[in-house]
Amino acid sequence: MMKTYVKKLVAFLAASAVVFVVFSLLLSNGVINAYYKQIIMTVCINIILALSANLIINFTGQLTLGHSAFMAIGAYAAAAIYRVGLPFFFSLIFGSLVAALFGFLIGLPTLRLKGDYLAITTMGFCQIIVVVLQNIPQFGGAQGMTGIPAETTFAWVFFTMIITIIVLYHVVNSRQGRAMISVREDEIAAEAMGINTTHYKVMAFTIGAFFAGLAGGLYAFLMMFIEPTQFNYFKSMDLVIYVVLGGSGNFAGCIASTGILTLLPEVLRFLGNYRMVVYPLLLIIIMIMRAKNIRLSRLVGMFRRTGKEGDNNAAA
């Protein structure tokens, strides 16, 4: 059991190293110019965000429309503490911990609610946090926070993503992960099997908030400028779209859909004004295709299918 795990982990790390080297080479000799570097780094940050939202939405079955609020908290907390003098790495960690704390505080009262009501409440919290941030003078209010140094590099973003994947994969494939999945499947049956469902919902929320905060911190030091409305519930909706199109519960699907959906608006830039008409149109078409069981991840699967593995499920 341990042996197979170690083998898989080493192979995964090796593969990531290869990808990292490939990208670094492409970046250094200018094949990928700064524009695509910016996008690829945004993709990595979105993957961290999507995976953290995936833990809450797909694995624990709790539809949250307020995930970007934790990204905002992480971004502002990291930027603020950095200005006070904490080194970059510790600022990121600080931002993530503050976001996790809010994930816990917001999770406790709201996670008694189910389905649409939970979605509405988390959307409400998201908008409240935007308004609160607009009213904090030290954070520059609506004018936002300028002069954040560009500390985030491709290496930071890529390795944080890899660590996020490993950590979340470990959580999902453990007793805590199983408890979260049982909450998604049937909360009443889970309670009958001795699982304190609220405890695990709040745990999923807190872990999700931690990584959203981490992604927020990286985002702040990438963009060098943050302002509250960037993190309103529209951003949360983007995350929900990445997660849902990624297919229920598997990491590869979530990563693929996030990558493609982050690139899509940029690839469509040549459409000019029609870009923001074509993007929602594509979205609707994808959703309808999905309902007719032509799954995006399966599309990608067909495109690069090598092995015979089917679309295996949660406890991959």
Partner: protein, 294 residues
């Protein structure tokens, strides 16, 4: 805050609340029947405002025909949206429907922005005279009263439709259980289309009236009132027509008094109340508690 000022703020609150109520009616109907948070509803409100605008400017129609044309137009758009975007997802999960609604919302907003441009447009001034009404020290205006009256009339009309007519019974059956309703010989698709038609027509009416009240319409006018009206619908008890009306009025009054007290908080107060209500009584003010049977 003197008593006169209190009274005036109460009237302001009710006026603002009547706008929320008018839009919330459509939200609660669609949610009540097929359990969808229809993000695109507030954009059908915008479509109604534009149809009314073109009816009033290029066709030079007076108020009533403009209103009817806008309601009809919005109704048709609503039915089309349901037929094309939502029906294929009838079996899909709630989240997929939510995302599709979001997609339709963006499509309508940016589509209209592409076709008609982002510049705000205004209705002809004489389409509906806005006269100031003085009630002693306090004042309001004819348009707000018309909106309050319209939302009241529409609420009563809706209650009659839903609780007194055959189509209403079909709607309630579909809302209770789509599959069972189908077994009872109810044409579920037609019922849902009817729901969208009525809900969208309401949105169209709201679009015209609010477009005239604030005298400016633009492709993105639906976003902000959409969230507020949706909050009101949930606040009053989602799925209940009187709930939407009551929720709208109360939300309007609370928001107005909070604005008068400390205005920076106004932006968030709608959500703060909503969250408190949802945690204490998840089914909203008028809703009844539905517990899951073991």
């Amino acid at each position: 805050m003197t008593f006169v000022e209190f009274l005036q703020q109460l009237i302001n609150g009710l006026s603002l609340g009547s706008v929320y109520a008018l839009i919330a009616l459509g939200y609660t109907m669609v949610y009540g029947i097929i359990g969808l948070i229809n993000f695109a509803h507030c954009d059908i409100y915008m479509v109604g405002a534009y149809i009314g605008f073109f009816a009033a400017t290029s066709l030079h129609l007076p108020f009533i025909p403009t209103l009817i044309l806008a309601m009809a137009g919005a109704g048709i758009v609503g039915v089309l949206v349901e037929r094309i975007a939502y029906r294929p997802l009838r079996k899909a999960s709630n989240i997929s429907l939510l995302i599709t609604a979001m997609g339709v919302s963006l499509l309508l907003e940016n589509g209209f922005n592409c076709i008609f441009g982002g510049d705000p447009r205004s209705y002809p001034h004489d389409i509906l005279k806005q006269t100031n009404i003085e009630l002693g020290p306090v004042h309001t205006d004819s348009l707000h009263l018309i909106i309050l009256a319209t939302s009241l009339v529409l609420m009563v009309l809706l209650q009659i439709i839903i609780y007194r007519t055959k189509i209403g019974k079909a709607m309630r059956a579909t809302s209770a259980d789509k599959d069972a309703a189908a077994l009872m010989g109810i044409n579920v698709n037609a019922t849902i289309s009817a729901t969208f038609a009525i809900g969208s027509a309401l949105a169209g009416a709201a679009g015209v009236l609010v477009g005239i009240l604030y005298n400016s319409i633009d492709p993105y006018m639906g976003i902000q009132p959409g969230i507020k009206a949706f909050t009101a619908a949930v606040f009053g008890g989602i799925g209940l027509i009187p709930g939407a009306f009551l929720g709208g009025l109360i939300l309007g009054v609370i928001e107005t008094f909070v604005t008068a007290w400390y205005s920076p908080l106004a932006g968030a107060i709608g959500f703060i109340i909503l969250i408190i209500i949802l945690i204490i009584k998840p089914s909203g003010l008028l809703g009844k508690k539905v517990s899951e049977k073991v």
